[in-house]
């Protein structure tokens, strides 16, 4: 299992190297991996269909008792099969579609890494691992949307998708942590059985809202749906894979996965039901309004994601059955339709439905599969989409609450979907042949394989609905419901209300399509109102983030070093003054007894040298004063028994003066820039600072909280260190690693100096 998840990553990192070496066959060869994974996952179907849940555990951080656990039940198996199955066709498809592109290797790196992340996401049992994979899909999605990074629009869309999903991801992380707190475990396998505890927990509402924020952004639910159509800037294989069949369903997956733990409450029903239904309606409306091939498909994906969310929210047996069936149906037809959209673009160079027509004769097979997939989208018998749609109608009619509202939404949406399906399935293929940029040909096998298999499966499953039903969907529904439920799928339900609703929506939808050329522009005129939509909100938030950080930077990083220093020192002074005044109100009294005259002289000279360096107007004087100060300090060290330090200070002082002479005299003389007012202010702060340091130093010499650790060094220097100079033994033995760090700093400073001088020499030459 670990290998299954990781193999995608392994191949991903080999891909940039392998791609140019494999040439045209690259798609077919890389396709072998997802295909093998599909077969491997499929081998679990019998076990999982019998209702068993498999757990795979690998030690990850054994010291901390953290394991990498994978959970394989009906739901994760369904997703794993979709990911690897559709992934196979996408990889093959991209081999031809992107052939000759400069970054094909990079594309394979990303798409394979995405596939592995997505597998990890749906298989993880550990919440932390799940979150990591979740974020990995966001990042790979970002890079894939921005694949054509030289286009500004692609970059902007990629960033938008990233910001929306990652902001949601952040909320999700918080929600998952709260969930683990409430449920007492980070393992999904344990959380799934502790639903009652979590639902009763005081944190239920906040954690639910946070998790839903994550899933709604990922699955493009209203009001976050706007990023998905923009994500169509990605190459078509990416749109087909990430933004219709897999990644955007990650949010749906998580909601379905957590249904046994979080679902069943009124809040759950209302939030998911209403937002899902709204998303469904808006998605289909926007799809009907658009004319771009990929735009229409993207909005119809929004519709499907809304439908799934709504069904999970309703949460009845019928609804859950409908949800898993709809999930499968949608992945099949939408994957196929997106790949067909890519074929149209590739063969004709046209991306707009209004300019397409009469392609049936040029590309009969593509037209055929487009027709089948579109029939499934419209929910027309005998396609699998019909089975799913009938179940959906039944579920919303039986919903425990808000049934009327969501039924109305569902019917309205279904009417528009029929029209959309007709636009996709009929318009490009029939009618008069419209001129195209390229002469269209039938697509090659690598492009056609995916649509062919997926569309055919849609038809096959429609005719034999119990084929996926009893093996896979019943196990998936069991996992979503958390308890055994009866799954019965059939093509023919008899004459009942759902069938009537289907028929009505079909009739109205076809009417809409008949008048599409009038309906669409009328709806498109409503775009004038879009500035009130949620995307505007996103733009406003982003703009305000930029302007806030701009003004913040202007304020805090004003570019004046002295104001930085002033701010730091003033803050320090305030804090120190506060502590001193509140805790140690008694000041130590000065004790001047027993000071030798020569000590006093040395200290006085050192202080005077410092003051002279500050006040003099001559640079030579200042450097000389610094030299005097340095030697004074050296003498102080020697006076107080620090021979090594004193010697070092003398030597360094000598070399420092040499260096200052070498450099400072190539700088101009002292200039007085500042006004006397600011000099007064700086002087005041400086004196205050110096005084505070003096005070603190006096206080620290009088307190001793802990015995000094030097005792150890003093006692062991001889026996352990075999040395009689304790300072040196500390430097080269006891604390050798410190010294090592210090000589590295010294070396770095020297190399830095060398580099700067070298650069300067080269500047001069050129």
């Amino acid at each position: 299992m670990l290998l299954a998840v990781l193999s995608g990553f392994i191949l991903a990192f080999l891909a940039p190297w392998l791609t140019p070496r494999l040439g045209r066959a690259v798609g077919w060869l890389f396709g072998l991996l997802p295909a093998a994974l599909f077969v491997w996952f499929a081998s679990f179907i019998p076990v999982v269909a019998s209702g068993e849940t498999l757990l795979f555990s690998y030690p990850w951080v054994p010291g901390l008792d953290i394991n990498l656990t994978f959970l394989l039940d009906g739901l994760s198996l369904l997703f794993a099969l979709l990911i690897s199955g559709i992934g196979t066709f996408i990889v093959i498809y991209a081999g031809y579609y992107l052939h000759g592109e400069a970054y094909q290797g990079r594309f394979y790196l990303l798409i394979l890494a995405f596939m592995a992340s997505m597998l990890g996401l749906v298989l993880s049992s550990n919440l932390v691992a799940l979150f990591v994979f979740w974020e990995l899909t966001s990042i790979t999605s970002y890079l894939l949307i921005g694949y054509h990074h030289e286009e500004g629009k692609a970059r902007a869309s990629a960033l938008q998708g990233l910001f929306v999903t990652v902001a949601g991801g952040l909320a999700l992380l918080a929600g998952l942590v709260l969930l683990a707190v409430a449920g007492g475990s980070y393992e999904l396998s344990e959380l799934l059985t502790s639903g009652d505890v979590v639902r009763e927990h005081a944190l239920y509402l906040p954690l639910l809202l946070l998790i839903l924020l994550g899933t709604f952004t990922k699955s493009a639910q209203f009001p976050f749906h706007f990023w998905l159509p923009n994500a169509m800037a990605a190459p078509t294989p990416v749109s087909a894979y990430l933004h219709s069949a897999t990644m955007v369903k990650a949010g749906v997956y998580l909601m379905a996965r957590l249904n046994p733990t979080l679902g069943g409450t009124e809040t759950w029903l209302l939030l998911l039901g209403l937002i899902g239904a709204t998303t469904m309606l808006i998605g289909s409306y926007m799809a009907l309004r658009s004319t771009g091939v990929k735009q229409v498909l993207a909005y119809s994906t929004v519709m499907a994601l809304g439908t799934l969310t709504m069904l999970i929210g309703v949460g009845t047996e019928k609804a859950i059955t409908a949800a898993v069936a709809f999930l499968l149906a949608h992945s099949l037809y939408k994957g196929a339709l997106f790949m067909i959209a890519g074929i149209i673009d590739h063969e004709t160079g046209i991306k707009d439905f209004r300019e397409l027509g009469g392609l049936r004769s040029a590309m009969p097979l593509t037209a055929l599969f487009a027709g089948i997939a579109a029939l499934s989208l419209a929910g027309i018998a005998p396609l699998f989409g019909f089975v799913a749609k009938e179940l959906m109608f039944e579920a919303v009619l039986e919903a425990p609450a808000i049934g009327t509202v969501i039924t109305l939404f569902a019917v309205a949406s279904a009417m528009m979907v029929v029209a959309i399906a007709a636009v996709i399935g009929l318009r490009p293929w029939f009618g008069p042949r419209l001129p195209t940029k390229k002469t269209p040909h039938e697509a090659p096998p690598s492009l056609l394989a995916g649509p062919a298999v997926l569309a055919t499966l849609g038809l096959l499953f429609g005719l034999l609905p119990m084929l996926p039903g009893q093996h896979l969907l019943s196990a998936a529904a069991l996992a979503v419901a958390g308890e055994p439920i009866e799954v019965y799928l059939s093509l023919w339900h008899g004459f009942n209300l759902p069938l009537l609703l289907s028929a009505t929506s079909l009739a109205v939808g076809l009417l809409l399509y008949w008048q599409w050329s009038r309906v669409q522009p009328a709806l498109a005129r409503l775009a004038a109102w879009d500035h009130l939509g949620p995307e505007r909100g996103y733009e406003k938030v982003m703009a305000s983030i930029v302007s806030i950080s701009d003004s913040h930077t202007r304020l805090v990083q004003n570019g004046y070093l002295r104001y930085y220093i002033l701010t730091i020192i003033s803050t320090l002074l305030l804090l120190l003054a506060w502590t001193i005044l509140t805790r140690y109100p008694v000041l130590p009294s000065p004790d001047l007894s027993g000071i030798a005259p020569h000590t006093f002289t040395i200290l006085a000279i050192t202080a005077l040298a410092a003051l002279y360096a500050v006040t003099t107007r001559s640079r030579l004087g200042a450097v000389a004063a610094l030299g005097a100060l340095g030697f004074g300090v050296a003498l102080i060290y020697v006076l107080f028994s620090a021979a090594d330090v004193g010697i070092t200070q003398v030597l360094v002082e000598t070399i420092t003066v040499i260096m200052l002479v070498l450099v400072l005299f190539r700088l101009p003389g002292f200039l007085d820039f500042t006004l006397s007012g600011s000099r007064l202010r700086d002087g005041f702060i400086a004196v205050l600072f110096g005084g505070t340091i003096t005070l603190i130093l006096l206080m620290t010499t009088e307190v001793q909280f802990f015995p000094p650790i030097s005792e150890y060094f003093i006692e062991n220097s001889g026996p352990l260190g075999h040395g009689r100079n304790i300072v040196n033994v500390i430097l080269v033995d006891f604390r050798a690693i410190d010294t090592l760090g210090e000589i590295f700093v010294l070396a770095l400073a020297a190399i830095g100096v060398y580099a700067m001088l070298k650069l300067r020499a080269e500047d001069r030459k050129s």
């Binding site: 420092t656 700086d682 002087g683 000094p708 304790i726 210090e742």
Partner: protein, 115 residues
């Protein structure tokens, strides 16, 4: 004794800070030199001046005779002095380069990132 040393350290810190608040880069360098001396003396004084012997063990003995001054603080300051030199050298050359690029000994003309 501590009082005098503490006063000296205070004077050094005050001088250093005052110089670092000036606009002239040369003064900034002088401030840096003062600051590193001040910091070293601060640690030295805080470790206790006492009247101990140098931290040396007489030949033939295993431990020093009588009280010795704190060897750890001395080791710390010793490396700090050498590193201080390295960092000062780096700062001086950096400032010199900046002066060459900007053409003025004025910090206020170095506040833009793109020159």
């Amino acid at each position: 004794m501590e009082f005098l040393m503490a006063s000296l350290v205070g004077i050094l810190f005050a001088s250093a800070l005052y110089m670092m608040l000036r606009r002239s880069i040369v003064k900034l360098v002088i401030g840096l030199v003062l600051l590193s001396n001040a910091a070293n003396l601060l640690i030295f004084t805080a470790s206790g001046l006492g009247s101990g012997q140098p931290p040396l063990i007489p030949p033939g003995a295993d431990v020093p005779v009588g009280a010795v001054s704190d060897p750890l603080a001395q080791a710390l300051i010793l490396t700090a002095i050498v590193i201080g030199f390295g960092v000062l050298a780096f700062a001086v050359v950096l400032i010199h380069r900046a002066y060459e690029v900007v053409g003025a000994d004025d910090m206020d003309q170095m506040k833009d990132t793109d020159t």
